[in-house]
């Protein structure tokens, strides 16, 4: 079975400021944070990290490999598809379903609300 670091979160967003501020907040709440600036790097991180995060916080619009493509590749991977994903995007929830996501939040989202959801996967 997948070995889960109880308190790690993978943060996938191309906005460096967002990654930095949210990392600090998560860190202060007792989480270890892995960061990736696009879907490709996120996949690399997941492939090389010795242990998996308990949840992925995923942006949709990113260069190189966007959130949708990440979700598609994740869905076809028997190991990766078991990691919960919370989408945090600047767009309204699209009408076509995103495969295998657990939550859709629209930016700007309150930290408390995001924490509530992340804590759920702890």
């Amino acid at each position: 079975m997948i070995e889960t670091i109880e308190d790690a979160v993978l943060l996938v967003d191309d906005d460096e400021d967002l990654r930095e501020t949210l990392s600090e907040l998560l860190d202060a709440s007792g989480y270890a944070v892995l960061q990736a600036e696009n879907g490709q790097i996120a996949l690399d991180v997941l492939k090389t990290t010795p242990r998996f995060p308990c949840v992925v916080v995923l942006d949709l619009s990113m260069p190189v490999l966007d959130g949708r493509e990440f979700l598609r590749l994740r869905a076809s991977d028997p190991i990766l598809r078991d990691i919960p994903v919370v989408v945090v995007s600047g767009s309204n929830q699209p009408s076509e379903p995103l495969p295998g996501i657990d939550e859709y939040l629209r930016k700007p989202v309150k930290f408390e609300r995001l924490m509530e959801i992340i804590n759920h996967y702890r």
Partner: protein
Amino acid sequence: MEFRRGWAFHAAKSRKSEPIMPRKTAYVADYLENHKQEILTRWRRAAKQESKESKRLAKLDDQELLDHIPAITDAMIAVWRGKDSSQVSADCARHGHQRRLDGYTVIDVMWELTIFRRVFLTVLRDASKGVEESVKVAGQETILDLLDLCTRCSVERFLEETEQERDEATAKATNLEVQRERFLGMLSHELRNQIQPILFALRRLHDTKPSDQQLRALQMIERQTRQQSFLIDELFDLNSIRFSKVQLRLTSVDLSDCVRHGVEANLSEMNAKALNVEMDFPEEPVYARVDRERMCQVATNLMSNAVKFTPNGGTIVWRVFEEPDAAVMSVRDTGAGIKEEDLAHIFEMFYQGEVASSPRKSGLGIGLTVVQNLVEMHGGTIEVHIDGESTGAEFVVRMPRAQKRKDPES
């Protein structure tokens, strides 16, 4: 645009039995040829006399008045000499084209050709004097057909070009709309993305035990950022509603929940004005078949509207109840009410009545437009009641009912 019933056609067919006819028609043609100047002069005079009927005609000088009329006259005379009528069609089409450029309406064109027809027939009557009756009748028929053809070709070209111009304008406008939509979508997406790190950074600063002064500054930044975020939401709503892009995810939703959400979303503004809220809900949930997020938005916008119009210390009353055919929520404020003359406009975009202050304070004025659109998108209705001015207004939203049981996905 084929010319079938013309006299030239009859003449050609019957030439064998009545060989005399071509000579006689040639005589008429010669007469018309010799009186061409008279036709044109009479046309100009008649056109000027009757210019009251057509504003365009009155403005043209002699040369402009003539336009293709001499060419059309020549073409018609040629038909009397046995030529086919295609030249008439071509000249008339060019005439229609030119008149459109001159700024005529289609009525002007028809009116002008009516005058031309009368003048031509008058001269023709003189030309056919002494001509055998059967030839005269056949000739007149031909010329009437030709004059009809004239009008048809002119007007047809005129309308074709007008339609083409309209289609091009429509295509251009549609393209602009598409670009605008894309731009607004991109803009609101980018703006939302930028607000997120600001909020997170502010949250981070809260944890650093700021001094009172720093805390007040933080709260100010937070307030302004939230307001900005609200305006961005309005911008996005405006975009998606204009292009009917909202996709509804229908489930069974308790309207009382939506109202609670709407009230909470306006809590800080309510507290700032020391408003009271009464919530008159039944103990049992009131289920409507709606999109939860969108219904919460309806309640939030209605609450925001009520808060905006209720004076400090006033009361806002929410009610949720069932009717046989509808799940109902209503909100009554104790504001200045709505003026009779404003009532018809309150759901219009950007309408703010007299309270209009800067959008920074009160939004873009699309809240109620969004509400109405969302409600109607669900197949619901919204009504507004007033008991005269200064006793507040009541908004009543009726939505389709849902089964008692909550859908699992809601």
